[in-house]
């Protein structure tokens, strides 16, 4: 949102989530070791918090790892429960965490896959692996502006097509695109129209 | 006297609507005028003491066939590309020719009817074994005009099968 009023950055915004490494005595589940062994370089980091296993995968390995997690017999993560993102503005080199909550209807286990991407860094879509990712990736694109590539239908989903900016980003004001909209919608519309006309010219 | 007035009024309406059918630009309006035309023709039948024919006229033509016309007219996209009618008069000669032929034919029939004495005995049997308009129509259809009647029904059947074959893309 280039022309949105400057929003004061949150006081001491955290630069990233805590990703506690699993304690030494924790048994690492089979799907993690199997992924580590079979897709080289796919597990950059491993984390365990409150019983949730998180595998941090480099963006370059995402589709490969996803494919493996879905197809390998000891993983069988056939169900993509959720796909979302988190915005960490201070982390310039990798602003977004894109999260994939996976579940296996066969083994009934869960894992969270996390990919760190920068603002304009392309990230391969996983719609080919889980069709369920279609709308979820659209939402992440809509709300965060994560640049998914290879998505069959990359449009905004919740916001209007011509919306400027990505509302879920931390630097996007809670009030929306400026106070003008709230206080004087007609002026706001005029402003928008003149901007549109300028665009056309 | 009253009958004559009624006849001429009806005839005027029939002709007027017939002209409107061919002159109206909007196809749906044209079909509607056709329906009105049929209704007035039915009224003419009533005037001729033929209620059965009148009712059948409404049922078959106004209520059945023209509905299908309307259906087709509404469904088919009539806004053809301009090249489809470059020359709106390209068939006018043929049209005039056909109209002339029909006119001559009609004239010939009328003339022959007027010239010759009406063959009263041949046109209708002097006494039909049934009374009532409906019964008489039925009797004539199944005795005198049996063969034309059956041929017509065969024709309709063939047309129906043909339409199904044409419309159904894969059988």
């Amino acid at each position: 949102m280039a022309d949105a009023p400057e929003h004061a950055p949150r006081a001491a915004a955290p630069s990233g989530p805590t990703e506690p490494a699993p304690p030494a005595d924790a048994a690492i589940p089979a799907f993690v070791t199997s992924l580590q062994d079979n897709v080289a370089g796919s597990v950059a980091q491993l984390s365990l918090y409150l019983g949730d296993w998180t595998v941090i995968v480099p963006a370059s390995h995402l589709v490969q790892a996803a494919q493996y997690l879905r197809d390998a017999a000891d993983c069988a993560f056939d169900y993509l429960s959720d796909l979302t993102a988190t915005d960490w503005p201070p982390r310039a080199e990798a602003r977004f965490d894109v999260l994939y909550m996976l579940y296996s209807t066969r083994h009934r286990h869960r894992v969270r896959v996390k990919v760190k991407v920068a603002e304009d860094q392309p990230l391969a879509s996983v719609t080919g692996v889980w069709p369920a990712a279609n709308w979820l990736e659209r939402e992440v694109f809509d709300m965060f502006g994560v640049n998914f590539t290879g998505h069959p239908d990359r449009r905004r989903i919740l916001m209007p097509e011509d919306w400027q900016g990505h509302p879920q980003r931390k630097d996007y004001p809670l009030e929306g695109p400026g106070e003008l909209l709230m206080e004087n919608p007609i002026d706001w519309l005029k402003l928008r129209q003149s901007r549109d006309e300028a665009d056309i010219e | 006297m009253a009958e004559a007035i009624a006849f001429y009024t009806l005839a005027a309406f029939i002709l007027g609507f017939a002209v409107l059918v061919v002159t109206t630009k909007d196809t749906v309006h044209s079909v509607l005028f056709l329906v009105l035309d049929f209704l007035f023709v039915a009224a003419l039948y009533v005037l001729l003491n033929a209620p059965f024919l009148a009712v059948i006229q409404v049922l078959v033509y106004a209520g059945g066939i023209v509905v299908l016309y309307l259906f087709v007219v509404m469904l088919v996209n009539l806004k053809r590309p301009p090249e489809a009618h470059q020359d709106p008069h390209r068939l006018s000669k043929l049209g005039f020719g056909l109209a002339g032929a029909v006119l001559i034919e009609l004239g010939a029939i009328l003339m022959s009817g007027y010239l010759k004495a009406p063959p009263a005995a041949a046109a209708t049997p002097a006494v039909l074994p049934v009374v009532g308009n409906t019964e008489q129509v039925g009797w004539l259809l199944y005795t005198r005009y049996l063969i034309p009647f059956e041929i017509a029904s065969m024709l309709l059947l063939v047309a129906m099968i043909g339409a199904i074959v044409l419309a159904k893309r894969e059988l």
């Binding site: - | 749906v28 309006h29 509607l32 049922l59 309307l70």
Partner: protein
Amino acid sequence: MIEQFVIPTLKILIVLNATLVGVSYMTLLERKVIAWAQSRLGPMRVGPSGVLQPIADAVKLLLKEDITPTKADRWVFTAAPVISMVPALIVYAVIPFGPVVRLFGRDVSLYITDINVGLLYIVSVASVGVYGIILAGYASNSKFPLLASLRASAQLISYEVAVTLTLVSVILMSGTLSMVGIVNAQYNAHVWFAFVQPVAFVIFFIGSLAETNRAPFDLPEAEQELTGGFHTEYSGMRFALFFLAEYANIIVVSSVATTLFFGGWLRPFPHVAALHFLDLIPSWTWFLLKSFVFLYIFIWVRATLPRYRYDQLMRLGWKVLIPLAIANLVLTGIVKVMLL
């Protein structure tokens, strides 16, 4: 003079007004019966137990703004409700509410006219009523009404075939097309035709549900699918005309069913002397009572059944009802010839 003009005019006025009042109260009946079926009360505010509701509705609809969509076909849009209302009303000309009775020292027939093609007249007039629906959908210049009117025309034409075929079976039984003649034929046959032509009756009933756009065949006005169906774009009195036409048609088919299959104005067992006390009740009461039962069943069906889908409706019409009706007709013909 009186015989020729005054009495028919009076009769027409009475029937017309009675019909319009009956139709508007039919809407109240429907709302009430469905409400009771659904454990509700229905209209309760206007008049005691809501009996004045139809009048309030009529006033409301008359006062409402009459909207014509900008891109509508203005003339056709205006004509369509009239086209559907008029046939629904003129059908009443041949419906016999009772036999010839002595009234004020005169022989008065309790029907407007008895033409010898009465049944065909009803069928043909009803077939013209289809135009109202088709044209409404077309003239609105809107997609949902168009879709609905296409559904409607296909549905009405298809079911008309089945219904007309069942009527032919009845004509075979009675040997006449006159409505009065058909009732008299049932009197002479000592039996209502519903009992000798049960298949025809069932097909007729299903067909009339479809022809009057009633549940479970109310696809042309399926509001869950097509918003409002063919009258989506209509408002005010024009909308009311469609509404009234539909209910007038329901009353017509109920009357026709009564006349053709349930002995019209005849009391039950007209030949049984032991039941002579039933003659105290006037004949037209029997007619109204029987018709009322049909009206009730129409409403009852609506409260109970889900709706058919378009292709299922067509399949039912063409692959079940029409072959059955033809088989029934042929069978009736054979039996008739064998017995004679």
